[in-house]
């Protein structure tokens, strides 16, 4: 029996245990049994430090755990948390902890990681100055941040920017101070750093470059930073993220060789100067390198685990690629391979779009055959592909600059098929060192045909998650190559795509969820397929969603948007944003009567917030009496058609945009679709209605209207694309009928028009041929179906208000007339109320 002791239960220490067990299961043992004891100084088992910032957005400490404490016990691992090893007796081969526990080892694995480097600046011990490494650090930051107003992060590297985003999300005014003349100096060149700076400033983070902190000001709590150039920056919270310092103190004290600037020296087998002691992860110094990333640490863990169990040293550590993609900060940033190529002769291709904030650089060999490395800022979608192309020394296409251009809309050939060109040995998931070959085998032989199954089967994608898009492409392409059609089925209850279900329901005429489930599905359904089927039923039959309330998402169930605290909002339709004074007065009176918070929405209408569920029918009754109707703010259906004032008042207007917007809004109101639909009509090219950011947008010309489709704001803003030019009113409406019906029939659940168009084979050219040239021969049917939807429109709220049964659903308790006594409001400081914080 061999005693293995691990010092440090961080990400790499944990991975070592996992790899050891895996190798044992694979039967790689040379027969020897081992006992495993793990010491961790932190109070909890190893957690995912890479996703530490998720703690700020509510992910619990337990959810971040790499494995629960029971996992160690179940696998006979003796895990001792809150135990710091303070002494190694290399003669007696024992370790001693700060509480005096002594354990003997045959092999000791040091996985002590690193600590944040804290520069010895005067005043650094003051209250309010933090580092960013452990859950305890974050807890302390959260507590302090509640009373702080301005945070300064020292360090503009990977971790510093992540810390800055966290501070910003805490609602603090956030500054980043960097010593170097640019952000992320180790990963980005000057132009890339400048672009990143612009992006960070757009997010609201202020950047100060070439600043050397000379002193922290304040009595016992920090009040500001004084820089070497004499300038001062006030702050009541500081986060230091100036780099890492390997935790080699234990090794040093035990006489193991350490590097001149820190780090436990290891050879290619990851042995320290004592062959019975290994060092892995961020504490290890290999070939003058400290690797501050998980992937190389995991690789080291695997190598040592294999060595210990097989007694063989077939695998050695050969250094690691430092390619990185920054996560979580709201800006895509990546660098891969050799981003600078300072030593190697090369050619550089650069693409820069300042307006969009995109900078890309590729370094290629002088003969143009191979990719050496590069930098991506603002759009890192191509990261995985480029990284693999450079790592595998794949031969480049004759026009490598194509790889830099933004993905062409509707060009479906590019990304997906590209992954299949990679060799089988290409590492797709670097955290877990999983190759393309392993993934493809899992798909073909182990039937792992979705991302969850792949994660379970191969562990790929379970680390930083950066490879997930590529995994998805690989699954799809492998299945396609096998001749299997890849279908995006709804969920475990329906082996059908939304489009298939739509067609079946249209042909066979089911009208309820129960019928659809009985005919085509299995089990009891779930929160995914119920609303999806509800949407299909509503699109096909245009029936009242309130009649099947229990299959609707909550907003559709109560025909109102649920808010923090459990109240709902009321949004009446104000077509085109046009409203009379009398109606404005009614809104004001109703709001006053029910004490509702009022706000003008981003969609040119008025939202009344804070209604109790039982008040909704009464409020709507009053609104309907005054001539209002539902605004469908709760539904996956048409929201608003925004308008600008247009030619009736505006000196530049060339058409009556308000009248057209009102007409379109009234035509398509209530139309149920896979996702929400938004529109805008502008009276001239100045585009005050922002029509080009809408699912369909119309801009007046001297001769008629230009029709744009498939734009959106939201998470990934997209400009709509021109479908037709200078068309008249009737043509515009017909094109819209066809376009909308085609989308409603063929999109996936919750897919908006822009991503739908992206996936549409043939792209915009094909869409035009359908809508304008009728290549499918379906336009007549599309128009008929739309006319039916328009003719059968009913105001959902009127139907509810007029129906006693439906009204009866609007109560908090079914066995008491009481209201929910947990609802609570506080003044918002501007004369209205808001829900108490949750």
């Amino acid at each position: 029996m061999k005693n293995i002791v691990v010092a440090g239960n961080g990400m790499v220490g944990y991975k070592f245990c996992e790899k050891l067990l895996a190798r044992q299961k694979e039967g790689l043992t040379d027969g020897g049994q081992f006992s495993l004891t793990v010491f961790g100084e932190e109070p909890r088992p190893a957690y995912d430090r890479v996703h530490l910032s998720a703690y700020f957005s509510g992910t619990s400490a337990d959810a971040l755990a790499m494995a629960p404490a029971s996992w160690y016990a179940d696998n006979s691992i003796d895990l001792r948390t809150s135990q710091c090893i303070t002494h190694i007796d290399r003669e007696a081969r024992t370790v001693t902890t700060h509480t005096g526990q002594v354990v003997a080892y045959d092999t000791l694995v040091m996985a002590t990681g690193s600590a944040p480097f804290v520069p010895p600046v005067p005043g650094v011990q003051k209250d309010g100055i933090f580092v960013y490494r452990t859950i305890e650090d974050l807890e302390a930051m959260l507590a302090w941040g509640k009373r702080a107003t301005r945070a300064v992060v020292i360090g503009g590297g990977l971790l510093g920017l992540e810390a800055a985003k966290a501070a910003l999300d805490m609602g603090l005014e956030t500054h980043v101070v960097e010593f170097a003349p640019r952000l992320m100096p180790r990963q980005l060149d000057e132009a890339g750093g400048a672009m990143l700076r612009q992006k960070m400033e757009e997010l609201g983070i202020r950047i100060h470059l070439s600043k050397n902190t000379a002193e922290f000001e304040g009595y016992d709590r920090v009040t500001g930073l004084r820089f070497a150039d004499g300038s001062v920056l006030e702050a009541d919270m500081v986060v230091i993220s100036a780099g890492i310092k390997p935790r080699d103190e234990l090794a040093r004290q035990s006489g193991l060789a350490v590097g001149p600037r820190g780090g436990i020296l290891v050879n290619d087998l990851l042995q320290t100067s004592d062959p019975d002691i290994y060092a892995i992860g961020e504490c290890a110094l290999h070939n003058s390198m400290i690797y501050g990333l998980v992937a190389p640490g995991y690789d080291m863990a695997d190598i040592v685990a294999t060595q210990l169990l097989t007694g063989m040293s077939a695998k050695t550590f050969a250094g690691f690629d430092m390619s990185t993609k920054l996560k979580l900060i709201g800006v895509d940033v990546a660098s891969f391979g050799d981003p600078f190529c300072e030593q190697i002769p090369h050619r550089t291709i650069v693409w820069e779009d300042r307006l969009a904030g995109v900078y890309k650089r590729l370094n290629i060999t002088e003969d143009g055959k191979h990719l050496l490395g590069g930098i991506l800022v603002g759009d890192a979608e191509a990261y995985n592909m480029l990284l693999q192309t450079s790592k595998n020394r794949m031969v480049l296409p004759p026009t490598p600059e194509d790889m830099l251009l933004p993905a062409r809309k509707g060009d479906t050939s590019s990304a997906g098929a590209g992954v299949m060109a990679l060799p089988d040995e290409a590492t797709v998931c670097s955290c877990e060192a999983i190759t393309k070959g392993t993934i493809c085998t899992a798909v073909t032989e182990k039937d792992a045909t979705n991302i969850l199954a792949i994660k379970k089967c191969t562990k790929a994608g379970t680390g930083c998650g950066g490879c997930v898009p590529m995994l998805n492409d690989l699954i799809t392409e492998t299945l396609k190559a096998q001749g299997k059609i890849v279908r995006k089925v709804l969920c475990e209850h329906f082996d059908l795509t939304r489009q298939e279900l739509y067609d079946l329901v249209r042909i066979n005429g089911q009208t309820t969820y129960a019928e659809v489930l009985a005919q085509y599905g299995k089990g009891c359904g779930c929160e995914v397929c119920k609303p999806a089927v509800a949407s299909v039923l509503a699109s096909v039959h245009n029936q009242l969603v309130a009649r099947q309330a229990v299959i609707q998402d909550t907003n559709d169930r109560y025909l109102a948007n649920i808010q923090r605290g459990g109240t709902y909002s009321v949004v009446p339709r104000i077509a085109g944003g046009e409203i009379t004074a009398d109606k404005l007065i009614v809104l004001g009176e109703v709001a006053k009567k029910y004490n509702l918070y009022c706000k003008i929405t981003g969609g040119q209408r008025i939202d009344l917030f804070g209604a109790r569920v039982d008040q909704l029918p009464y409020i709507w009754e009053e609104l309907i009496d005054a001539g209002f109707e539902s605004g469908h703010a709760y539904g996956k259906s048409l929201r608003t058609v925004k308008s600008c004032v247009g030619s009736t008042w505006c000196r530049f207007g060339v058409q009556d945009s308000v009248a057209f917007a009102v007409e379109l809004e009234n035509r398509y109101k209530g139309l149920r679709s896979p996702h929400k639909l938004k529109s805008g009509v502008s009276g001239c090219a100045r585009e005050c209605a922002e029509a080009q950011s809408k699912d369909f947008g119309i801009i007046a010309t001297e001769k008629g209207w230009n029709l744009y489709v498939c734009g959106n704001g939201g998470v990934t803003p997209r400009h709509a694309q021109l479908l037709a030019t200078d068309i008249d009113r009737e043509t515009c409406i017909r094109y819209l009928d066809r376009f909308l019906m085609f989308y409603i029939k063929t999109a996936e659940p919750l897919q908006r028009t822009a991503p739908w168009l992206d996936k549409l084979e043939g792209g915009m050219a094909y869409l035009k041929s359908v809508v304008i040239d009728d290549v499918l021969g379906l336009n007549e049917q599309f128009e008929r179906e739309m006319d039916y939807a328009v003719a059968t429109y009913q105001c959902e709220w009127k139907s509810v208000v007029d129906d006693e049964d439906l009204r009866g659903q609007y109560r908090h308790f079914v066995n008491a007339s009481d209201t929910d006594d947990t609802l609570a409001f506080v003044p918002n400081g501007r004369g209205q109320q808001q829900p108490a914080n949750w």
Binding site: H493, C526, V550, I562
Partner: protein, 117 residues
Amino acid sequence: MVTEFETPETLSWHVAAPISAFPTDGGACVKIGERQIAVFNFSHTGEWYACQNMCPHKMQMILSRGLTGDQNGEPKVACPYHKKTFSLCTGENLNGDDYRIETYPVRVEAGMVYVGL
């Protein structure tokens, strides 16, 4: 509140509401004493379930308004706010978070639904 049955354990059964008060394949909230309890029925299996109405994620009184369904046969409810799903048998969170809710036994007799607390 009427206590109708006593079982050997200290469980006592409380009247919730008549069956007709509950939507088929959906949930509704009942008040028992000062407590809010969410009650669900599944027509597919004929089973009834009850749990606390409060979602432990953001402490919202809401679970009765969640969509119900099953995950590999395990009955569950999804919170309307952020779609965290909970087993109606064990109360365990099914998304891998460590939230947990209380579940209670339900009994249906002569058209009346009872919850055991």
